[in-house]
């Protein structure tokens, strides 16, 4: 029996969804609005969407300030390297988990799952010690290496699951056609896995791009800071430069937004892939 949704319930549902939408979008909208105002106008009551202080000044200031641009550069370098390394290492580890049988496979797998369960703050002090001991304190590698610990488990588990849905005969076929296992992985399995790789890559990028705590502790000089720290540096004892913070936040969110829009179709199919085998 097919039950038609009544008009009324459709309308009610729409209203509820719209309300939730506004609720979810409000901080972002407010961020955008504030970024175009001068700091003093932000707290005017009643609030206006556009007032007489509307300008792109804060954006121009951010984009012409070498110190702030350096924050962006740092974030791009760290996040970019983390994404590339996570995917390369994760793909190869996942291939091993999916296709080989080796000693201690189970315990290693449990370890990888377990790492995710540890609250990151617990790891902060030990990592600080390790990074200092390795003489990597206040370098990109300090952030890259610690971020890899956060992003790799998810990547390995996701990709192992995805590779498991791909028939092993594909590898066999490449090996018989004249390729190596390496070739089978990078020439066939990886191209087929684009949806999963895109969603894992986006997740990795977001994790690295947004990370605050480790970036705060493991870097020291202003020229090594990333965007989340850079925004926070605008809070000084005497002055909260809200509009500057907001415009930096907008600029900081932009790459993720663009990536999402660009990869949207993969991302959505990535989440549902594995359900249907093709």
């Amino acid at each position: 029996m097919v039950r038609r949704q009544s008009k009324l319930s459709k309308v009610l549902l729409s209203i509820v969804l719209i309300l939730f939408g506004i609720y979810a979008a409000f901080p972002i909208i407010w961020m955008l609005i504030c970024s175009f105002k001068q700091n003093d106008y932000i707290f005017y009551w009643p609030p206006k969407i556009i007032d007489e202080s509307f300008s792109f000044n804060t954006y121009i200031k951010v984009l012409t300030d070498p110190v702030k641009l350096r924050f962006f550069l740092n974030s791009y370098i760290v996040s970019g390297v983390v994404v590339v390394l996570t995917l390369i290492i994760g793909i190869m580890a996942a291939y091993a988990f999916s296709r080989y049988n080796f000693k201690f496979k189970k315990p290693i797998n449990s370890l990888i799952v377990g790492v995710q369960a540890i609250p990151q703050i617990v790891l902060l002090i030990p990592y600080m010690g390790i990074i200092v001991a390795m003489k990597l304190f206040n370098t990109y590698w300090a952030l890259i290496l610690t971020y890899l610990v956060m992003t790799l488990p998810y990547c390995i588990l996701m990709m192992t699951g995805y590779f498991n849905t791909l028939s092993k005969e594909l590898d066999d076929s490449v090996r018989i056609d004249g390729g190596s296992r390496f070739r089978a992985l990078w020439g066939v399995l990886v191209p087929i896995s684009t949806p999963a790789l895109v969603s894992v890559g986006l997740y990795t990028f977001m994790t690295a791009w947004n990370e605050y705590l480790f970036a705060l502790v493991l870097t020291q000089t202003t020229n090594m800071r990333t965007i989340p720290i850079g925004i926070n540096l605008l809070i000084t004892e005497h002055n909260y430069d809200w509009s500057m913070m907001m415009s930096m936040s907008v600029l900081g969110s932009l790459p993720i937004l663009i990536l999402f829009l660009f990869f949207q179709k993969y991302f959505i199919s990535g989440m549902s892939s594995g359900a249907i085998k093709e």
Partner: protein, 381 residues
């Protein structure tokens, strides 16, 4: 263009128990496998599920390590040679086409991996496509093809390189019955177009009988018999082969082997028939003694209502009208017997065989009898 020699090949799968309490299990998938495959021969490995056919094929391909024994291709020991260096091609049951590539690229892929010049790739892909009649699909992705078309692409990818050996693992089992018959005919035709050694795996005895120069019947990892289809049909080495080859399956009756000098007779219940001279000579040559035996008779070799002395009797359980013949399932003193009655003459002459619970009398001649000892071995061997 290659011979393959398998010498005492065995394969053991070791799987370690997941928990400490679980035993480590050893599966003997293939056991002491000996076979010499001649150049350009078409050998079919056939047997029930899990008998080790795929494992044997994968060992020939190099996809599965050989636990013990020696494998030679063209008299070169290849145990430790990578699949890519063995110059073989393989068609997989699930096709294993590369889904992100077009049909053209799928077929061209082995050539690309072997660094064949572009112009030659084009030529050879087109040639393979022509042989398999898939020229119009070259630009499509595998997703947009039917099962039969995908199968052709998989075969195309295998033959494009002119491999020494072409391996096929149940290539037709994913197709519907009609397409399977058609593809079977095409494989026979393909064989005359490309001169290669074929090793073909199937669990379907019809496929084995129609395709193979030689069929290798396997069970539980052991070769039961390796012979030409006709030979395996006429002289099955044991009860398993006798029951596996031929459809419907051979009937088995408990009986006795009687001997008088060099003349042997077979007794089933009260029916006694004399074995033909040729069989008697072979039994006498081995000095086979009278004993309890299992008598095998093919359904088409059983005659109904011939009026011979001491005919066996049974009642019809089910009768299936097949058009040119009727298949009777008869219950006869505890045995289920299948009898094929040819349909000739008027309706009235065979009408009684279509009735359930009808009593039929049946018999067979000595020529039709296969004699197996208590362990199931054919006494003639």
């Amino acid at each position: 263009m290659a011979t393959i020699t398998l010498k005492n090949i065995s394969k053991v799968f070791e799987s370690t128990g997941k928990k400490k309490s679980e035993e480590n299990t050893r599966t003997l998938a293939v056991s002491d496998f000996n076979l010499e495959i001649k150049d350009k021969e078409f050998v079919v490995l056939v047997g029930p599920s899990g008998c080790g056919k795929s494992t044997t094929l994968r060992m020939i391909a190099g996809l599965e390590e050989i636990s013990s024994g020696e494998l030679y291709i063209d008299d070169v020991l290849v145990n430790d040679i990578e699949p890519k260096d063995r110059d073989i091609a393989m068609v997989f049951q699930n096709y294993a086409l590369y889904p992100h590539m077009t049909v053209y690229d799928n077929i061209a892929y082995p050539l690309k991996l072997h660094k064949v010049p572009k112009a030659e790739i084009q030529e050879r892909v087109m040639e393979a496509a022509r042989i398999l009649d898939i020229e119009q699909y070259l630009k499509r992705k595998p997703k947009a093809l039917s099962g039969g078309q995908r199968q052709r692409v998989a075969i195309g990818r295998a033959i494009v390189r002119n491999p020494k050996v072409l391996l096929m693992d149940e290539p037709l089992s994913n197709l519907d019955a009609k397409l399977r018959n058609q593809m079977r005919a095409e494989i026979i035709a393909l064989r005359s177009k490309i001169n290669t050694t074929f090793v073909y795996v199937t669990h379907d005895q019809t496929e084995a009988m129609t395709l193979g120069d030689r069929i290798v019947i396997m069970k539980d990892g052991f070769i039961q018999q390796a012979a030409s289809p006709q030979d395996a049909f006429d002289h099955p080495a044991n009860i398993f082969v006798a029951g596996f080859i031929g459809a419907p399956s051979m009937n088995f009756f408990p009986g006795k082997l009687l001997r008088q000098g060099d003349v042997y007779c077979v007794q089933v219940e009260d029916l006694i028939v004399q074995l033909p001279e040729e069989k008697c000579a072979r039994l006498a040559g081995k000095d086979v003694q009278p004993q309890d035996i299992t008598v095998g008779v093919r359904p088409s070799h059983i005659n109904v209502d011939t009026g011979v002395e001491n005919e066996l009797t049974g009642t019809i359980n089910v009768s299936e009208m097949m058009g040119t013949e009727v298949h009777l399932h008869v219950k006869s003193s505890g045995n289920d017997v299948v009898i094929i009655v040819p349909v000739i003459g008027s309706y009235a002459s065979y009408e009684k065989y279509l009735r359930q619970d009808e009593v039929v009398k049946f018999s067979f001649t000595g020529e039709a009898c296969h004699v197996f000892d208590s362990e199931g071995k054919n006494l003639e061997f």
